[in-house]
């Protein structure tokens, strides 16, 4: 009986659709059918401003709670510093008690005693980051972009989505990227590293204003450093030292000097979005679409090994042994026999392989 497996997309060409959403409601600046380049701005939004809570009930010295009878402005209204937010008329010729806005901003909430202002903030532009065609517009929210591209999914990422020209800083997938490898050619580029990276290489990449880094593995000791960089880092295999697998490295090497998009994904363990590299293609041929994926492990599947002594190896399933296979560590496990790209035959537990498509 076969079982399900995880699918990792490592494909030289596919038709894909990616949503590019504004982090907050804002203004979408492109239209359905528009062609966009990675650098094009698809929309803008305002960052959350600073909150200011005004204790209106105390200022107006209200004995009973409830502001509605005293408000001069309502939730949603924009106010300038000094504008009257609320006032309490007083008898016998006394001046009314007045509550003035302490800052310029928008009234975002009112309770029976307090008013909350959100101060004005910067407008932020959101770029397409992928070359393609707008196939859907969600007003105030974002767009969907369709493109024909090479697609490589990673397993870990950090930073913000980015784009740039692809440069290789290593020649082989199991090399460690050092400071010396990050030269002037990495200026403004998405850099391909190898099995790992040194701290000095990360710092050098920052100096070179790299736009992104793709590596097989990243040491846990450098995760905080990676998170502090101004560019995204994408890991294709795992935490620690892991050579970039051969399928990924081949695709990347075929597209050097081309523009790529790097999305570090979302690492929320409960709602993960996998990190990915998208390389838009100029081909006119119709490549296969992204389809509902069959994730059942079958003979002939191209797979990669994700843990154990053969970690990182790719190959095809040639047999499912009838009985569990015994492993040196002392476990007998349902397994697959894999013919590796180098022609070797290995046994790997079915739990430790992922389908590659």
């Amino acid at each position: 009986m076969r079982t399900f497996s995880t699918v990792t997309r490592i494909t030289p060409a596919t038709l894909l659709r990616r949503d590019r959403m504004l982090p907050r409601r804002g203004e979408v600046l492109v239209n359905m059918g528009d062609r966009v380049d990675a650098v094009d701005i698809i929309g803008t939004y305002r960052r959350p401003g600073r909150l200011v809570v005004v204790d209106a009930a105390s200022t107006l010295r209200l004995r009973k709670r409830g502001l509605s009878g005293y408000l001069q402005k309502q939730a949603g209204e924009t106010v300038a510093q000094g504008d009257v937010l609320a006032s309490q008329p007083r008898l016998r010729g006394l001046f009314p008690r007045v509550l003035r806005s302490p800052a310029r901003g928008q009234i975002v909430a009112i309770t029976d005693s307090q008013i909350v202002l959100e101060t004005e903030s910067d407008e932020v532009s959101v770029r397409a980051h992928i070359r393609g065609r707008i196939i859907s517009v969600m007003p105030e929210r974002g767009v969907a972009i369709e493109t024909v591209a090479s697609l490589i999914q990673g397993v870990w990422g950090v930073g913000e989505v980015s784009h740039g020209v692809l440069r290789a800083a290593v020649e082989v997938p199991d090399a460690i990227l050092t400071e010396a490898g990050v030269d002037v050619s990495c200026l403004g580029a998405i850099v391909v590293g190898g099995a790992g990276v040194t701290k000095e290489a990360l710092e050098q990449a920052e100096k070179m204003q790299a736009r992104g880094l793709i590596i097989g593995g990243l040491s846990s000791s450098l995760m905080d450093k990676a998170a502090s960089l101004p560019f995204p880092v994408l890991v294709t295999e795992g935490i620690g030292e892991h050579p970039v697998n051969a399928l990924v490295f081949d695709i990347l090497m075929q597209h050097l000097a081309e523009e790529v998009s790097l999305d570090p994904g979302d690492l929320n363990p409960w709602r993960p979005r996998r990190p990915e590299v998208v390389i838009p293609l100029s081909t006119a041929d119709a490549p296969p679409s992204e389809v509902e994926l069959d994730t059942m492990l079958n003979l002939g599947n191209t797979v990669r090994v994700v843990r154990g002594p053969h970690k990182g190896v790719t190959g095809s399933i040639v047999r499912f042994p009838e009985h569990p296979v015994y492993y040196e560590i002392g476990l007998s496990l349902e397994s697959a026999e894999i013919q590796t790209q180098s022609g070797e035959h290995i046994f790997v537990p079915v739990s430790n392989v992922e389908i590659v498509r």
Binding site: S219, P272, R307, G330, L331
Partner: protein
């Protein structure tokens, strides 16, 4: 509502975060037995987004094994069982897949009402992501901003003793209502209020139309009284309604079952309670999963289920590393040429591939280290809920259990039995003399929900197929002094053969005692060790039960001391491993 026919055959599904298991229980010679089981990856994430797919896959495996048919052409479970043997009389399920409830605590004083709320939360499948305390010096803006940023799924508001002032709660409610106005309707949290009852109507009025309000009895009615039961019950309801019931495909799963689909922890704790009741013993069930660790304990009839939500050996590994500190995890790993960073790397890589199985010494030892720390963290957090008194002679150690049930695939499927048991001993640090059993098939975790449709099936399967006896544990409390004798023991086998033992302190020893064999064990601890009486040096005679492992004497003392020095630690850990037969 249970269907109105005799339930003889049952399919019971247990949908975990990474693995879904289905068990077929049926009558064999007038006894309910576990007939077959299937397992498949859980399919709640993309691209499947439907829990049913994994359940169906596991049922198909049982169909292959039994040559019986349980699913119709529309892949629905055929119910009831037909005369030709197709279908089953009932389908039941428990679900522990999916995320815990994300909470924010709001209260007045951290040491009082907030502490009570935390004790309730430690028994719920919930994570506290932040707290708003009126007593701290932050401005209201900071509190509002925190709520806006965290977007908790529920806010637990506590504070105020009965009859006390309500001003503080009013101010707290102002902050919460302000923050909620800034959140989109779909992101607004549920508000559970477990504070001064006199403030209830005032808060209900404030939040009306803004958030759903769930008032429960005051968790801290007075400074020296704590009533966390109603709060815990409400949190369990919220978890069931907002997390379990929203797992993709839950509706169909629920429609198949004549009884409520239970959270996995609830089903498991019901099994343990049933076991404790039927045997009249103090029992603890221990399960370490991918994203949660459960300690379901019953002592003197009182059930306490500590849930280490988010602490597990798969997706939960990262949280264990963070909460336990990486060096506490890496100290357990002896694999050659390994640095602490390698251990952290291995743990985080496991979290990226939670379904994968460790095959190298580093991978296997790292998972075990994470498991130990997940257990330690959960035990530490649950400690204040355990009964105290004569059943818990040492406040910083667990109570005296008579029976430990080792459950979950992680603990029961280690390369050797000794490795699973050692992980449990190191993490939980049980004390006294107790029997150790193993839920080798994993069926025990579903029997709580099986009992809802057929209690006899749960009882008989638990008796015949659920638990395998590993042996007896002897775990004295005390401090190790090199060169002395920790205790002397005399084991009298049924054939009257006598084995005299001198147990060195700081050692773990396994004495052969076969399954089914019972022997008399006379223990004479030294003046540094207590075997569970609450007094050091006091001896006892106990009848002990054999098992696959035998009699395990853990004379390392309690609390367990792991040497700080790297070389010394490696030597000591290796000695312990040899002792249990790694």
């Amino acid at each position: 509502m249970v269907d109105n026919y005799t339930i003889e055959s049952i399919l019971a599904a247990d949908c975990g975060t990474t693995t879904t298991r289905v068990f077929l229980l049926d009558l064999v010679d007038d006894q309910y037995r576990l007939v077959a089981q299937g397992a498949a990856p859980t399919t709640i994430a993309a691209p499947h987004n439907d829990i049913i797919i994994g359940v169906v896959q596991a049922i198909r495996q049982i169909e292959d094994l039994t040559q019986r048919k349980f699913l119709d052409t529309e892949t629905k479970v055929i119910r009831p069982e037909r005369t030709d043997g197709t279908g089953v009389d009932a389908f039941v399920a428990s679900v522990s897949a999916g995320a815990p409830l994300r909470l924010l605590l709001a209260g007045l004083i951290p040491e009082v009402s907030i502490a009570s709320a935390r004790r309730a939360v430690s028994q719920a499948n919930a994570l506290v992501e932040g707290s708003v305390l009126l007593s701290d010096s932050r401005r209201p803006e900071a509190h509002v901003d925190l709520i806006r940023r965290l977007k908790p799924e529920a806010i637990v508001m506590v504070g105020g003793t009965e009859g006390g002032a309500v001003d503080g709660l009013r101010a707290l409610a102002d902050i919460i209502t302000l923050a909620c106005q800034l959140l989109r309707r779909e992101n607004r949290p549920e508000l559970v209020f477990a504070g001064n009852i006199e403030a209830r109507s005032l808060i209900a009025e404030k939040v009306a139309g803004l958030m759903n309000f769930h008032p429960v009895d005051n968790a801290r009615p007075s400074l020296d009284e704590e009533e966390i039961g109603p709060l815990l019950e409400e949190l369990e309801h919220l978890y069931s309604d907002f997390k379990v019931a929203r797992v993709p495909g839950f509706g169909r799963l629920s429609a198949w079952s004549p009884v409520t689909v239970l959270p996995g922890s609830k089903s498991y704790s019901q099994t343990i309670q049933f076991l404790a009741e039927s045997l009249g013993l103090n029992v603890v069930g221990v399960s370490v999963g991918s994203t949660q660790t459960i300690l379901a304990s019953v002592v003197d009839g009182d059930a306490v289920t500590g849930i280490g939500a988010g602490w597990g050996v798969g997706l939960g590994a990262e949280r264990v590393l963070r909460d336990a500190a990486p060096e506490r995890v890496s100290r357990w790993v002896l694999a050659e040429d390994t640095t602490p960073t390698d251990v952290v790397d291995a743990a985080l890589t496991k979290a990226l591939y939670p379904y994968s199985i460790g095959l190298t010494p580093l991978e296997v030892e790292t998972e075990q280290a994470i498991g130990r720390e997940a257990l330690r963290l959960t035990a530490e957090r649950t400690r204040s809920l355990w009964p105290g008194g004569s059943y818990q002679p040492y406040a910083d150690l667990p109570p005296l259990w008579d029976l430990i049930v080792m459950s979950g695939k992680f603990l029961t499927s280690q390369p050797t039995l000794g490795q699973g048991v050692m992980t449990l001993l190191d993490g939980l640090q049980p004390i006294g003399v107790c029997t150790l059993v193993m839920d080798s098939t994993g069926v025990a975790e579903t029997l709580g929900v099986v009992a809802a449709v057929q209690p006899l099936a749960a009882a008989q399967v638990l008796e015949h197929d659920g638990l395998v006896t590993l042996g007896t544990l002897v775990c004295p409390v005390g401090t190790v002094r090199e060169g002395e004798v920790a205790m002397r023991a005399k084991l009298t086998y049924p054939d009257k053969e006598v084995l005299d033992l001198e147990i060195a302190p700081g050692t773990v020893e396994v004495i052969p005692l076969s399954p089914g064999q019972k022997a008399s064990l006379e223990l004479r601890p030294s003046r540094q060790f207590d075997i569970g009486w609450g007094y050091k040096g006091r001896g006892a005679v106990a009848e002990v039960e054999g098992g696959i492992l035998g009699l395990v004497i853990d004379a390392r003392g309690r609390p367990l001391q792991v040497p700080e020095d790297d070389e010394e630690r490696a030597r000591v850990l290796q000695r312990w491993r040899w002792g249990i037969g790694y």
